[in-house]
């Protein structure tokens, strides 16, 4: 276990390093001059030059990257005007070009919202997706299965922005069962937190669940064809128990593997849902930052996503090894 953790930590550092290098290089390709964007539309060349200097964009790209690494390890100082020098403690991801906010701080304030969204969605797709997958494996060939197929596919086949908007319209505007969601941090009011996240969770969860339903169903059927199922059938174990107790385990591996990926990408990728429901999460932050070439924020958020992906992957491997002891931890 310790070995596993050590190995994964090493791997994670590698991943993060690679990510930061990629983002830094892409950034030099991307259109848009960050100094001009930070300065404002009608800045004159001198002002832009000043801002460029202030942001440290005059240095060579390698030097900038090295500074970034230095900040990560040892922290950095930034002049903030008014004789103030802001110290950014290690691991320092720098200051946002646009808002001067510390990126580490920014990510820490955005992460809870994103995590809230992703965790709830995860729960929903596991519940709904795996549930309907099992049900349709159990009722295979029947009308229930066809209905479930169509329903879950309707979830996937509808782009998430339309699904979310439809839900909002129906639940908040038309039926008025719920107020329009406003993000409330968990620490502030757990009950309001859950109520306000209900629709976003449903949107993302339902959108993802068809994938899981199909996957669960097909893996379950696969397992149902195995010999050990015959044993239990020969002992009078009912069809339902066969599916839910025995066959489902065959579906565990792909579901866990995929959930880890989806969960990881959701940390940075649920942009549409986040902006539709006004959730102050990382996805929106990233999109906004990309649009204005706010490199420190982009790098920071991508690194946060990378960390999430690595952690989710490691957790998935652990879960998977726990579920199927035949698999050794690599």
């Amino acid at each position: 276990m310790t070995r596993f953790v050590l190995k994964r930590t090493g791997g994670a550092l590698l991943v993060l390093l690679a990510l930061s290098v990629i983002v830094y290089s892409l950034f030099y390709l991307a259109p848009g001059d960050p100094a001009r964007l930070a300065c404002g539309e009608r800045c004159n060349p001198q002002q832009i030059a000043q801002v460029r200097e202030q942001l440290g964009l005059n240095e060579s790209s390698v030097a900038q990257y090295l500074h970034f690494l230095q900040g990560l390890v040892a922290g950095r100082d930034h002049s903030a005007g008014a004789g103030l020098v802001l110290h950014c403690d290690a691991p320092c991801l720098g200051l946002s070009y646009q808002t001067d906010q510390q990126v580490t701080e920014l990510i820490l304030t955005r992460l809870p919202a994103t995590l809230s969204l992703a965790l709830g969605a995860l729960a929903i797709w596991l519940l709904v997706g795996v549930g309907t997958g099992l049900l349709s494996a159990l009722r295979r060939g029947g009308i229930t299965e066809r209905l479930l197929t169509v329903l879950t596919l309707a979830g996937t086949g509808t782009p998430v922005f339309i699904l979310g908007l439809l839900l909002l319209m129906a639940v908040c505007a038309y039926l008025q069962w719920l107020p329009f969601p406003t993000y409330v941090p968990l620490t502030e009011d757990p009950e309001q937190w859950a109520w306000n996240l209900l629709l976003p969770w449903l949107t993302l969860g339902l959108f993802e669940s068809a994938k899981y339903a199909r996957l669960t169903r097909s893996s379950t059927l696969e397992t149902l064809a195995e010999d050990h199922i015959r044993t239990f059938r020969a002992y009078g174990v009912g069809e339902r128990a066969l599916v839910t107790r025995h066959a489902v385990r065959g579906a565990v591996a792909p579901v866990i593997a995929l959930s880890a990926v989806d969960f990881g990408t959701m940390i940075g990728g649920a942009v549409l849902t986040e902006s539709l429901f006004g959730i102050p999460g990382l996805g929106k932050t990233l999109i906004d930052a990309v649009r204005v070439v706010d490199l420190p924020v982009v790098v920071g958020v991508v690194l946060a996503i990378g960390t999430a992906v690595v952690v989710a992957g490691a957790v998935a491997d652990l879960l998977y090894a726990a579920a199927d002891r035949r698999v050794a931890l690599a």
Partner: protein
């Protein structure tokens, strides 16, 4: 021997071609599979025949009809159901009055091409990487795993924006889209394949193949693991189609997508999103087509999945409804 009496005469199935034919035969026996294939074939046909059909209706996907929209009310089509008329079979687009029928047809060309191409690339890369990770030994497995992590964590958007500056303007856009979506979004497939392959790897038949294959990992992957992986991979690929279509739309907003006025379903869907109360037809048409495509793919994918399984016909059917009914 026991089997002589009733076994199919040797030679009844031509050597080598046995498996493929059997799959095809099994596929043809399922009405739902046939229907799904027909729907897809029809869609592809319609897409291919778009210019012909456009001629038939006398419409063009890009011609504006300012007289068919109510400019004072945001450009909503005049007339009911989104402006359906003898000329415009499915009505017109709000704001421009462009003919929806022809736009949907032309849109199908881009969307199907991009989505299928991208999913094909994703699946290919995902399976290759997943298998390599499962079979490549410890260190290779670790490295590939981390590489997959990197790719999963790279937001498509960041790449998309960077690419707008790099890709020459005359690079074929659909190909670019296929490459971006295909080469960036294979992490899920790879992870899933790896997980499955790891589970299969422990079975004796893989050991047996290792002993007889002269150590060729590629051969083992292809011969021993791929057939068993086909089921989840096909299922997954079918479900990735709409994601790819929507990804195409979001990339279009970054300027990486197909150039206007060329329509695509993804673009139509995203510009339609605010219209679903004022002009539901505008949303429902592309959404309905997308849904039909996805449904057809899934049904067909399922059918191929079972048809690929030689055990179907005997074991897969064990304990189905028939049994419950006694």
């Amino acid at each position: 021997m026991a089997l002589e009496r009733s076994a199919p005469a040797p030679g009844a199935v031509p050597p080598g071609a046995g498996a493929g034919r059997q799959v095809w035969r099994r596929l043809r026996r399922r009405p739902s599979a046939v229907a799904a294939a027909a729907v897809l074939a029809l869609l592809v046909l319609l897409a291919l025949a778009a210019p012909l059909l456009a001629q038939l209706t006398g419409q063009d996907p890009n011609t504006y009809h300012d007289d068919l929209v109510d400019s004072a009310r945001g450009g909503v089509p005049t007339g009911s159901f989104g402006g359906i008329s003898a000329d415009h079979w499915l009505g017109v687009e709000p704001g421009t009055g462009r003919d929806l029928f022809t736009r949907l047809l032309y849109g199908a060309r881009v969307s199907l091409l991009v989505a299928l191409g991208a999913v094909a690339v994703q699946t290919f890369v995902g399976v290759a990487v997943g298998l390599a990770a499962a079979l490549g030994g410890r260190i290779a497995g670790q490295l590939i795993g981390r590489f997959t992590d990197v790719m999963i964590a790279l937001p498509m958007l960041v790449i998309g924006i960077a690419l707008t500056a790099v890709v020459p303007p005359d690079f074929p856009r659909p190909l670019l889209l296929v490459l971006i979506i295909g080469l960036l979004d294979w992490g899920g497939t790879a992870r899933m394949v790896r997980a499955q392959a790891l589970a299969l790897r422990g079975l004796d038949f893989v050991d047996a193949a290792r002993l007889s294959g002269g150590g060729g990992r590629l051969r083992i992957a292809r011969r021993e693991l791929l057939p068993s992986l086909a089921a989840p991979v096909i299922t997954y690929a079918a479900i990735k189609v709409p994601t790819a279509i929507v990804a195409e739309a979001s990339l279009s907003f970054l300027g990486v997508g197909v150039k206007p006025p060329t329509p695509s379903w993804g673009q139509m869907l995203s510009s339609a999103q605010t219209w679903f109360r004022a002009d539901p037809a505008y949303v429902l048409l592309p959404a309905g087509l997308l849904f039909a495509t996805v449904l057809a793919f899934t049904v067909l994918g399922d059918a191929v999945r079972t048809a690929l399984d030689p055990r179907e016909g005997s074991r897969l059917r064990v304990g189905t409804r028939k049994e419950r009914k006694g």
